[in-house]
C-alpha cells in the first residue's frame, strides 16, 4: 500500500474514532463533516478529559496500550494546544507501521 493510501486509511480511522467519541455530544462545535484538517480543540471543542477518552479509544481500536502518546501530546516538555486529524493519523502511521 502506498504512503498516501496508508495515511488516508489512518485519517479515515481517526475520523471514525472521533465521530464515535462525539456521537453523544449535544454541544459539538463542528459545522459540516470532519476532514483531515479538523482541529479537535478549536473545532470539536475538546477539553483535557476528552483527550483522555480519545487516547483510550485509539488504544482500544488498535488493541495497543504502549503507544507513546507523549510524542503526540507534548512538544519540548509542554502540552500542545490543539491537534488536527492529520497529525493524529501521522502519529498512528509512524507508530503502527
Amino acid at each position: 500500500m502506498s504512503d498516501v493510501s496508508v495515511e488516508q486509511r489512518y485519517e479515515k480511522d481517526v475520523i471514525e474514532i472521533l465521530s464515535e467519541l462525539t456521537a453523544d455530544w449535544d454541544d459539538l462545535g463542528l459545522n459540516g463533516a470532519m476532514s483531515p484538517d479538523t482541529a479537535i480543540v478549536a473545532e470539536l471543542g475538546f477539553e483535557s478529559l476528552d483527550v483522555v477518552y480519545l487516547v483510550t479509544s485509539i488504544e482500544e481500536r488498535y488493541d495497543r496500550r504502549d503507544l507513546p502518546f507523549e510524542q503526540l501530546l507534548m512538544v519540548e516538555g509542554s502540552y500542545v494546544t490543539d491537534l488536527t486529524v492529520k497529525q493524529i493519523a501521522q502519529f498512528l502511521r509512524e507508530q503502527l507501521n
Binding site: 453523544d24 449535544d26 483535557s48 483522555v52 516538555g77
Partner: protein, 525 residues
C-alpha cells in the same frame, strides 16, 4: 442475601452523629439502633481512586495499581500525567467477580467503572463527564430504559471538572448556594437511577456512591462539624448551614427509601472511602523544596493567593518546573506525594534519607512539626504496581492536601478552615445476622470486599488481603453461615504477588520470570 452498599464518599461520624442528634437524619438514627457500626480505616493515601478501588477489589494499591486520579510517567519527551481509568486497575472488582459467580450486580457512580466491563447487571461509572456516561455504562441499552426515570439527566449526573475544582479553592459567597444545590440535584439523579433499578431490575448486590458528601465537606466543613460551626451565624452563614442540612436530609430520605425497597430480608451496609476533618493551613511543598534547592521553577512563577492547591489546567502544571534541574517535586495535590527525579540510582537512598529528614524538619508559624509522617513507597504500597506511587507520601498534621503551587511561605494559615480527608471513615451494617445497637472493632477498607461477597452468599477469594470483619455479626449467625474462602485458581498469583512485595533485591532475571508468570495468569499486561 440481597445486599445494598450505600457509599457515602468521605462520610465521618464527626458530622453524621451531630446531624442525627439534631434529628436531621432519622433513618440513619434507626440504622444506629437496629444495626452495628465501626470506624473504617482507609488506604495509606485516603483518596477516592485508591480507597474505592481497594474497597471494590479487596486488594491494596500495589496490587490493583490505582494510586491517584492521574499517574506520573517519565518518558523521553519529559514527565507526563496520564489519567487512570478502569483499564489501569489490574485485579478484578467484586462487581465482576460476583457477576462471574452468577450473581446479579448494580454498581452506580463508583470510581473506575469506565470503560464499561460486561457484567450480569448494570454499571454506570462516577467521575465521568456527562458526554461519555452513556458509552461508559453497561449494558448498552441501559440509558434507553433510564431516560424515562424522573430526575435522570446526563448533564447533571456527569462530572464537570470546572465545577469540582471550584470547591477546592476559595469560592465567592454568591456561588455557594448554586454549587451546593447542584450537588443536591446530582444525588437526586443518581438515587432516582438506583431506585428505578431496584424496583424494576433488582440485583443481588446494589451499590451506589453519593460523592456530594465529600464535595460539600471540602467546601463547607466549618458549617457541618459542630467544632467549627459559628455560634452566631451571619444570615449568609445560616442560609448555607440550612442548605447543607437539606443535602444530608435528602441523603437520609434516600436511605429510608432504600431500606424500604430492600425489605427486612435484605442487608444494608453504609461505607465511606475515608473520613473528614478540618485543614487550617496550606503547605506549599514545592516552595519548600525550592528553598531547599531541590526544585527549580521554570522562570517566574506566580505566587498563589487563593488558597489553591492545583493549577487551573493540569496540562499547564508540567510547564511550572525546570525538569532538568529539579530533584524533588510534588506533581499532583491529591497524591500528597513527592517524586524524586534526576537522582542517580547509587545516590538515591542517601538523597531520599536526607530529604525525609528535611521534610520532618519543616515547622509552621507556631514552631510545630507540619509533616507528621513520610511514607516510603516500598513500605506502604508494595506490590507489582508500586512504581505508580510517588517516592514519598506525606501526612500533614492537619491531614491537609499539599498545594503544588508557589506560595509566599511554605506554610500559610488559611483564612477559614476547609474540609480535608481523614484516614478514619465509617462502616455500618443493618440486617439479618448483624449485631443490633452495637459498636464493633475498627475495620480496614480492605475488609469490605469480603463482607459484601459473603453477604451475597459467595466464597471469598483467597487473594483478598483484608480480614473478614466477623465482629459485625452475631456469633450464632456466623456459625451457621461461615465466611468460606475460595482457594481457586487465583491463589497462585496471590502468592506470586506477595513475593514481588517481599523481594526488594530481586535481580532482573527473576523479575522477568515473575513478570512473565503474572502476565500469563492475566494479572498484568
Amino acid at each position: 442475601m440481597r445486599t445494598v452498599l450505600f457509599g457515602l464518599d468521605g462520610a465521618t461520624y464527626s458530622v453524621l452523629d451531630p446531624l442525627m442528634e439534631q434529628g436531621l437524619m432519622p433513618n440513619l438514627q434507626k440504622c444506629r439502633a437496629a444495626g452495628v457500626r465501626c470506624l473504617l480505616e482507609s488506604t495509606p493515601l485516603p483518596i477516592t481512586p485508591q480507597a474505592w478501588t481497594t474497597l471494590a477489589t479487596g486488594r491494596s494499591m500495589g496490587h490493583h495499581g490505582i494510586h491517584d486520579f492521574v499517574r506520573v510517567e517519565q518518558t523521553d519527551s519529559g514527565i507526563i500525567l496520564r489519567f487512570n481509568t478502569g483499564r489501569d486497575r489490574h485485579v478484578p472488582t467484586i462487581w465482576k467477580y460476583l457477576s462471574d459467580c452468577g450473581k446479579r450486580i448494580t454498581a452506580l457512580n463508583y470510581y473506575g467503572l469506565a470503560p464499561a466491563e460486561p457484567v450480569n447487571g448494570h454499571t454506570m461509572p462516577g467521575f465521568v463527564p456527562g458526554r461519555y456516561l452513556k458509552r461508559s455504562s453497561f449494558p448498552a441499552d441501559l440509558f434507553s430504559r433510564l431516560e424515562q426515570v424522573p430526575h435522570f439527566d446526563v448533564g447533571v449526573l456527569g462530572l464537570d471538572l470546572d465545577i469540582e475544582k471550584e470547591g477546592l479553592a476559595e469560592m465567592p459567597p454568591d456561588r455557594w448556594e448554586e454549587w451546593i444545590q447542584l450537588h443536591i440535584e446530582r444525588e437526586r439523579a443518581w438515587f432516582a437511577t438506583m431506585e428505578y433499578l431496584m424496583e424494576h431490575e433488582p440485583s443481588d448486590l446494589t451499590a451506589i456512591v453519593f460523592d456530594g458528601v465529600d464535595k460539600l465537606q471540602h467546601l463547607a466543613y466549618r458549617f457541618l462539624d459542630p467544632k467549627y460551626v459559628p455560634a452566631n451565624p451571619t444570615p449568609w452563614e445560616a442560609k448555607i448551614i440550612k442548605l447543607c442540612h437539606s443535602y444530608f436530609k435528602q441523603i437520609d430520605n434516600f436511605l429510608g427509601r432504600t431500606l424500604e425497597l430492600l425489605g427486612e430480608d435484605g442487608r444494608l451496609f453504609i461505607a465511606s472511602d475515608h473520613g473528614f476533618t478540618a485543614s487550617d493551613e496550606i503547605l506549599y511543598i514545592n516552595k519548600y523544596l525550592h528553598d531547599l534547592g531541590h526544585l527549580r521553577w521554570n522562570g517566574e512563577v506566580d505566587v498563589d493567593e487563593n488558597e489553591s492547591i492545583v493549577v487551573e489546567r493540569l496540562t499547564k502544571q508540567m510547564g511550572l518546573y525546570d525538569w532538568r534541574n529539579t530533584r524533588a517535586a510534588a506533581l499532583t495535590p491529591s497524591c500528597n506525594g513527592v517524586y524524586i527525579l534526576n537522582v542517580p540510582a547509587d545516590e538515591y537512598e542517601a538523597f531520599r534519607d536526607k530529604l525525609i529528614e528535611e521534610l520532618y524538619a519543616l515547622r509552621g508559624e507556631d514552631g510545630g512539626q507540619v509533616i507528621t509522617e513520610v511514607k516510603k513507597r516500598e513500605d506502604w504500597f508494595a506490590g507489582p504496581w508500586m512504581h505508580r506511587a510517588p517516592d514519598l507520601t506525606l501526612t500533614l498534621r492537619d491531614h491537609g492536601f499539599l498545594s503544588v503551587l508557589n506560595g509566599t511561605d511554605a506554610v500559610v494559615p488559611r483564612k477559614s478552615p476547609v474540609g480535608t480527608h481523614h484516614p478514619l471513615g465509617v462502616l455500618w451494617g443493618v440486617g439479618p445476622g448483624l449485631k443490633v445497637n452495637a459498636t464493633a472493632k475498627q475495620c480496614n477498607i480492605l475488609d469490605v470486599a469480603s463482607l459484601l461477597v459473603h453477604s451475597v452468599g459467595v466464597e471469598i477469594p483467597a487473594e483478598y488481603e483484608g480480614k473478614f470483619p466477623a465482629d459485625l455479626y452475631e456469633e450464632s449467625y456466623l456459625a451457621a453461615n461461615p465466611p468460606n474462602v475460595s482457594w481457586g485458581e487465583k491463589a497462585a498469583p496471590a502468592a506470586a504477588e506477595v513475593q514481588v512485595a517481599q523481594q526488594d533485591t530481586m535481580d532482573s532475571e527473576e523479575e522477568l520470570v515473575l513478570t512473565q508468570r503474572l502476565r500469563s495468569l492475566g494479572y498484568i499486561e
